[in-house]
Amino acid sequence: MRTRICAKIQEELPLYVGGELQAQSARRIAEHVRDCADCLMSADQLQAMREDVRLYAAHPPPSMLDERVFAEIRSAVLGEIRKPPRRYAIFTVYSRVRPFRLALAASLALLLLSATLLLTFTKKAQQVEESAEESTRPLAVAVASAVPPRVENYTSQTTATTQLTEKVKGRRRPTVRATRKAAPSAAVERSLQTDSVSVSQTGTPAPYQLLPPKMSVAVNESVDQTDQLTEPEQLRIELQTKDPDVRIIWLSLKTRE
């Protein structure tokens, strides 16, 4: 029991001799040390050791504290302090352009602004061009179809019979030809070999190349509507392509002379 208490006291003795313990702990240890010879001896040894450390480790060698040593240190420090600060290349460049920094900043800002504007306008122009192109394609079909060919010998009685020739048999690709019997003024001709559709008019050059080569409008084998004359003066041809979104409508109006 005594040994266990002593072991605990011995752990706290280094702090006790330095006065770092709380008052209560210090009092408890002081009471124990008064009665315990071993702990008292340990406390004395620690105290003596502490005094020795103060005495023998506190004084630097006199040669170190010589005035010449201090003078050397001071001159080294002052030399370092008085030395011009090391300048890096970027700071040198900056110091050269510093007088013109406002002009430089303004020109840089202007350059940035113009570059931004240029980019914006270019982008907008591209967008407009793209949207125009996109809107032109189906519109071209419609417009091209809506433009009535000028028919000279058109009579309402003939009612614009449109022949649709289809050759779907065998492996041969179909060729669709829409013609008007009485007045073969226009023909929708599509050659699937070339994957292009052209609207041609007799006597007049084909107004548009309707679709790009790869669009493959591919007039359906079942061209469902051909000649739809709702009125005697109107000719309407609709061609439904494979693409459900694309329908070729051809309107032809009779012009009364």
Partner: protein, 220 residues
Amino acid sequence: MSSEATDLPFMTEDVPFDEASRNGPAAAPLSLLVERAQKGDTAAFEQIMICTQRRVLSLAWRLLGNADDARDATQEVFLRTFKFLPRLRPEYDLHGWIYRVTVNVCRDIARRRKIGPNDYVSIDANNLADGLEALRSTNDAEEDAIVAQKRAMIARALDSLTARERAVLVLRDIEGCSTEDVARAMGSRPATVRSQICSARAKIKLYCDQLLKKGGHQRP
């Protein structure tokens, strides 16, 4: 024993300028010097160096245990002091601040040179002879031998500590700082400092006991 403040007569002996400037009427000129040095006056800074150099060098030597390292540390301390002097507010104590800078610089040097336990080259033969010369109060050869033996034993016992243990022991037992001041200087908590001080004292006692049991001051 319960008081943390301890009398350290050698401190006044070591740093007469410091004490005079801290407590006496010379405090005003020091603050003026600081003011001038903050504006870049190197002459004023030189005066500040003269006032504090002995204390800085002594503390560096105690912390590093090596004369060359202590000189390097002192130089670095003054360079840092001049660099950061404009940040020192008038209400702060210059000495306390330089003290902390010294502790930090010595810690950096110890870390850079990887000074750990038993790695210190603390007191070589010449330094021991110098120390003996300084301590010699009598021509008695026997007493000289005892003093030399004790000094070497303490030096080696200090070498056996880690850098932090040595620093807290030096600050607390030699410099006479309070636990809170040591904690502030070391950048740690007072409880940690107490633990390190306790460990350091116990290690030194153990080391000395072992040496005495072997009947000499050779390394175990």
